[in-house]
C-alpha cells in the first residue's frame, strides 16, 4: 500500500493530463477548507482537498466539491444588468460595469445630499469574507446602517464574548477535548463560523465524551453519552439549571472563580432562582439528565462547547451565548488547551480596522437604525432588519431610499418575508450583487455579477477568530464577474472615497498584511499564517474587559441599562406564553435544520447538490402525522397566524410529537417566473418580526420557536411534483 498517497497531486496531473493546479481556500460556506483546484484548458476540471490545510486537513464537503458547477452554471449572471420593466418583471438589459457603477454612485451621492448618508443602507447576508469592505464603504460614506445577519448569527457571539472575556472562545479541537457539549448545532452538516466537522469528529474518535443539546435526534445526538432533548427555545433555562448543579455541587474551578471572575455572588443568586424542578418544568428535560450532563461536563477536563447559530435566533439570544460562556468559564475551560481558547489572530489589519468603524462620526453613529433599542447590537455596528423595512415603508425615524445588497437574499432569509418583499418593492433604488438573479435580485434596479471564490485573490479567514489566515488564489475568470472587494473598491473611487481605497484590490491585500511586513505576493507563496499560540493568557494580563475579569456580571450591559445577569425569557409564541393561540395552532414549529449541499438559500440550482435534497422537508412524529392525516412524502401546509407555506412531510421518531421541524431558505430556481416560488415554501413567511419579540440586546428575531398547525395539502391546491 506504500504507493497510495492522499491527494497525490503529481499522479493526478499525470493520469488525467491536467495543465496545472492551484492551491486555494474554499468559500462555499464562510470559508476555511484548503483545496487543490486542477485546471485543464483554462477551466476548473476537478476540486480536491488539501491535506496541508491546518483547518480541515484535506477533507471537504459537498459544496466545496461542487464549486465548479456553481462557477460554470448556465444560469449564472456574468455581466451587469439593469432592469427595464417594473420590479419583478424579469426584463433586463445588459450594461457595462462603468454604467452600472456610475449609476449606483450617482444614486448614493444624490441620496446622501438629499436625505443624509444614513438613507443608504448596505447589506450582506451570512459571512462571506466581504464584511470588511462593505463596512468600510458605508462608514466612510457616513452611513451607520449595514444590514447583515449579525443580529442573530455570530454577531451575538462576538458581541457577548467581547463584553464577557474579550474575544470569542473557540473550541480547541487540536488539543482534543475529553468532553464535548454540542449545543443546538450539528457541525458535521452545518457551517458554524470558525468550525469544521473534521476536527470535532477526530476529537470524538480520540475518546471524547459527548453531550448533545438538541430538540431533534441528529446523528451526534444518537451517538451522544447524554442527549438533552429540550423544549425548543428553553436553552437559557437549561444552561441555568446546569450552572445551578455545578454551583451547588461545587464542581466549578475555585481558583478561576475567585481570582478571575467578576460578579460571582450576584451570579450565584441568579442561578439559585433556577432549581432543577423548575428547569425540568420549563425545558421538558428530566432533572436527572440535566444533573448527569452538568456533572459530566464539569468534571471531565478539558471540556469544550460546540456552539452555533440556533441559540442566537431566539429571544434569549445574548443570554444564551453568555450562559454557555459561563459554563466554559467557571469550569476552568476558558483558554485551557483542549477547552475553549481565546485564539490570537496573526498580526494583520483586522476587520474592525479595515472596516473603518473609527471613521463613522458620533453624529452618524447616533443615527444607527434601532440603536436606542438594541444597544448592544448597535455598539457592534449591527442593525435589526425590521428597522430598515420600517424606515423604507413608514419613513420612520427617517427615510431609507437605497439598498445595496451584496451576497444577500433577504426575501428568503429574513423574518416576515411578505414585509421584506413589500419593502424591497417600495425602496426607491436597489442594487444587488450575486451569482444568480435571485428572488431578491428580481426586485433590484441593477444587478452586478459577483465572483465565486475560484475567481479572486484574498486573505482568507482574516475575519475569523480561530487564529489562521490562508491565501485564496484566483484560478479562473468567468465572464465579467468581479469579486465584491474589487467592485466596491471601484465604486468607492466613484463616490469620492478614492483617498481611502486602492488603485487595485491587491494593494488592499498588501495593506491587510503590512503589519507583518509582507505583501500579498509574499503571502501567496505560503500555505497559511497562524497567530501566536498561547494558553491561560488571562493569568498574566487578565481579560480584555472593563474589570479585567471574566464578567459573570456584565458591567457593560449594566451601563447600557440591561440586566447585567442572564435570565430565561419565555419565547413570545409558545404553549406557555400564548396558551390561547396554542389551542388553534397546536404544534411548536422549529425551523432551519441544515442540510448537506445547501448554504441558506444557495445551491438549489446546482445539479449535484440539489440531487441530494430535492424538496423542502418538514419533520413530524408519526403519531402527530396520523392525527393530522399526514402520510410520508405528502405535501403539507404549515400555517401560523401570519401565513401558510408548503413543504413535504417526513415522518420521524426523532422529533417530539408536540413539535414539527421545517426547513428554511427554500426557493425554486428551476421555476422561470420572476418569483421563482419564493412564496411557496419560504418559512420566513410564517415568522413574526415584531421588535417586541426580539432579543432586547441584540435584536435577534425569534425565528426558531413558533406555533403552527399542519395538515395535508388539498389535491386541488396544485402540486409541483
Amino acid at each position: 500500500m506504500g504507493e497510495f498517497r492522499y491527494s497525490n497531486i503529481e499522479r493526478e496531473m499525470e493520469v488525467y493530463g491536467y495543465d496545472s493546479f492551484v492551491k486555494s481556500h474554499c468559500r462555499m460556506c464562510h470559508g476555511g477548507c484548503g483545496v487543490i483546484v486542477y485546471v485543464k484548458d483554462g477551466k476548473v476540471a476537478k476540486i480536491a482537498g488539501d491535506p496541508d490545510c491546518p483547518i480541515a486537513h484535506g477533507t471537504l464537503c459537498t459544496k466545496g466539491l461542487a464549486s465548479a458547477q456553481l462557477a460554470y452554471h448556465p444560469d449564472r449572471l456574468s455581466y451587469p444588468i439593469k432592469r427595464l420593466g417594473p420590479k419583478a418583471s424579469d426584463q433586463w438589459e445588459r450594461i457595462s460595469w462603468d454604467e452600472a457603477l456610475d449609476t449606483i454612485a450617482e444614486r448614493i451621492l444624490t441620496y446622501k445630499e438629499k436625505y443624509g448618508p444614513e438613507s443608504v443602507v448596505f447589506g450582506y447576508g451570512t459571512g462571506r469574507e466581504n464584511e470588511a469592505v462593505i463596512y468600510r464603504i458605508a462608514n466612510i460614506l457616513g452611513s451607520p446602517n449595514v444590514l447583515t445577519a449579525g443580529h442573530f448569527c455570530y454577531g451575538p457571539r462576538i458581541s457577548t464574548s467581547i463584553i464577557t472575556c474579550g474575544t470569542n472562545p473557540i473550541a480547541d479541537y487540536e488539543n482534543f477535548p475529553k468532553c464535548i457539549m454540542m449545543w443546538g448545532n450539528n457541525v458535521t452538516i452545518s457551517n458554524p463560523d470558525e468550525y469544521k466537522g473534521e476536527p470535532f469528529s477526530v476529537a470524538l474518535d480520540k475518546g471524547a465524551k459527548l453531550i448533545v443539546v438538541d430538540p431533534r435526534l441528529t446523528r451526534p445526538a444518537a451517538r451522544a453519552n447524554v442527549w438533552l432533548q429540550l423544549r425548543p427555545g428553553t436553552d437559557a433555562a437549561l444552561a441555568l439549571g446546569m450552572l445551578n448543579v455545578i454551583v451547588k455541587e461545587e464542581l466549578y474551578d475555585k481558583e478561576f472563580v475567585e481570582k478571575y471572575t467578576h460578579g460571582w455572588e450576584p451570579f450565584v443568586k441568579r442561578v439559585n432562582e433556577y432549581p432543577l424542578d423548575r428547569v425540568e418544568e420549563i425545558t421538558w428535560v428530566p432533572k436527572e439528565k440535566i444533573r448527569e450532563a452538568a456533572r459530566l461536563f464539569a468534571t471531565t477536563k478539558p471540556a469544550a462547547i460546540q456552539w452555533g447559530v440556533a441559540i442566537e435566533q431566539q429571544i434569549n439570544c445574548a443570554d444564551n451565548d453568555r450562559l454557555l460562556m459561563f459554563l466554559m468559564g467557571i469550569t476552568g475551560n476558558i483558554d485551557a488547551p483542549g477547552g475553549q481558547v481565546l485564539k490570537r489572530t496573526p498580526n494583520v489589519v483586522n476587520v474592525g480596522q479595515f472596516g473603518a468603524h473609527g471613521m463613522l462620526t458620533k453624529d452618524q453613529f447616533a443615527k444607527r437604525l434601532g440603536g436606542e433599542r438594541f444597544r448592544l447590537a448597535s455598539r457592534f455596528a449591527i442593525i435589526q432588519p425590521k428597522c430598515v423595512w420600517d424606515a423604507i415603508l413608514e419613513e420612520k425615524p427617517y427615510p431609507v431610499k437605497m439598498l445595496f445588497f451584496i451576497s444577500s437574499n433577504p426575501v428568503l432569509t429574513r423574518a416576515n418575508a411578505k414585509e421584506v418583499y413589500r419593502a424591497l418593492e417600495r425602496v426607491e433604488f436597489m442594487a444587488v450583487a450575486d451569482f444568480f438573479i435571485t428572488p431578491t435580485a428580481e426586485l433590484a434596479d441593477i444587478v452586478l455579477p459577483a465572483a465565486t471564490w475560484l475567481e479572486m485573490d484574498y486573505v482568507g479567514d482574516f475575519w475569523k477568530r480561530h487564529g489562521y489566515i490562508l491565501p485564496r488564489r484566483k484560478v479562473i475568470q468567468v465572464g465579467e464577474c468581479r469579486s465584491d472587494h474589487e467592485m466596491l473598491n471601484d465604486l468607492a473611487h466613484r463616490i469620492g472615497q478614492g483617498q481611502y481605497w486602492w488603485d487595485n484590490f491587491e494593494k488592499a491585500l498588501d495593506h491587510i498584511l503590512h503589519p507583518m511586513n509582507i505583501t500579498w505576493k509574499d503571502f501567496n507563496k505560503m500555505n497559511y499564517i497562524r497567530g501566536e499560540v498561547k494558553y491561560y493568557k488571562y493569568k498574566e494580563s487578565g481579560f480584555s474587559t472593563p474589570t479585567r475579569k471574566f464578567e459573570l456580571y456584565s458591567t457593560i450591559l449594566e451601563k447600557m441599562d440591561y440586566d447585567p445577569l442572564p435570565q430565561y425569557r419565555e419565547s413570545p409564541e409558545s404553549p406557555v406564553s400564548a396558551p390561547e393561540l396554542y389551542k388553534e395552532y397546536p404544534y411548536i414549529l422549529i425551523t432551519g435544520a441544515r442540510q448537506p449541499g445547501f448554504f441558506h438559500t444557495e445551491n438549489r440550482q446546482i445539479g449535484r447538490l440539489r440531487e441530494l435534497h430535492r424538496d423542502p422537508i418538514v419533520e413530524i412524529h408519526p403519531d402527530a402525522a396520523a392525527k393530522e392525516g399526514i402520510k410520508e412524502n405528502d405535501w403539507v401546509i404549515i400555517e401560523t397566524c401570519r401565513g401558510r407555506v408548503r413543504q413535504r412531510a417526513k415522518l420521524t421518531l426523532g422529533c417530539d410529537p408536540r413539535i414539527v421541524a421545517a426547513e428554511h431558505a427554500w426557493w425554486f430556481p428551476e421555476k422561470k417566473d420572476p418569483g421563482h416560488g419564493w412564496y411557496e415554501s419560504n418559512i420566513n413567511i410564517l415568522i413574526d418580526n415584531a421588535l417586541e419579540g426580539c432579543d432586547p440586546a441584540m435584536g435577534a428575531s425569534n425565528i426558531r420557536t413558533l406555533l403552527c398547525r399542519i395538515y395535508p395539502e388539498k389535491k386541488e391546491g396544485g402540486s409541483h411534483e
Partner: protein, 181 residues
C-alpha cells in the same frame, strides 16, 4: 498480488454525503447531467433499539462480494471479479439485460437509462491501477470513515479507533460495507 477492499465504518458516518459528490465528480463532466449514482448515503432510523432511540447513516455501494452473484448471472460475462478483489462491470460488454440488477442482494447496481446498460461502483479501478485512491476514499470524508486498502489492516485500524472511543460502536454491527479479495 495486493488485496483491496473498500470498508466504510458506518458508525462513524455523519451523513455529510461528500462521498456521493466526490463520486459524481469523478464520473461526470462539470457541465453534465447528474448521471448514475454508484454510492448513496441514507438515514437508517430513527428507530427504537433496546429501548433507546437510535439513528445511523448507511452507505450503500457495491460490496465487491467474494462470490458475486451478479457475475454468476451475467450472460455475457460483463462482470468479473479481479484477482485483487475488485468486481468490475464492463460497460462495453454489458447488453443491458438487467439480470444482475435483480440478482444483487444489496441493490447496488443501477440501470443507466441513457446508455441502456447496468452500472455500478467499479471501485475506481481506473484510479487504483494508477496508484490513486478511489474518489470517495481519497481523504475527502470528514469522519475519516471510508477506508481503502488491505482489509485486515483496515479492520485493525477500526478496532483501534473503537478502543480509543471507549468501546463506542460495538452495539452497531461490525463491518458494514466490506469487501475481501
Amino acid at each position: 498480488m495486493n488485496k483491496y477492499a473498500l470498508i466504510i465504518e458506518e458508525f462513524a458516518c455523519w451523513g455529510c454525503k461528500t462521498c456521493e459528490v466526490a463520486c459524481k465528480q469523478e464520473f461526470n463532466p462539470i457541465d453534465a447531467e447528474n448521471g448514475i449514482k454508484y454510492l448513496s448515503v441514507w438515514g437508517d432510523g430513527p428507530k427504537l433499539m433496546n429501548g433507546k432511540l437510535d439513528f445511523i447513516w448507511r452507505v450503500n455501494v457495491c460490496k465487491h462480494c467474494d462470490n458475486p452473484p451478479c457475475a454468476q448471472v451475467c450472460p455475457v460475462e460483463a462482470i468479473m471479479k479481479r484477482e485483487d478483489g475488485i468486481v468490475v462491470l464492463d460497460s462495453v460488454k454489458c447488453t443491458g439485460c438487467q439480470l444482475c440488477i435483480d440478482e444483487c442482494p444489496y441493490h447496488a447496481i443501477s440501470f443507466d437509462d441513457e446508455k441502456k446498460i447496468a452500472a455500478k461502483c467499479n471501485l475506481c479501478h481506473h484510479r487504483v491501477d494508477k496508484g490513486l485512491y478511489p474518489a470517495c476514499a481519497d481523504n475527502i470524508c470528514l469522519a475519516h470513515c471510508i477506508y481503502f486498502g488491505d482489509p485486515s489492516e483496515i479492520e485493525q485500524k477500526i478496532l483501534e479507533k473503537r478502543k480509543l472511543r471507549g468501546g463506542w460502536g460495538e452495539i452497531i454491527p461490525k463491518v458494514l460495507v466490506n469487501s475481501r479479495g
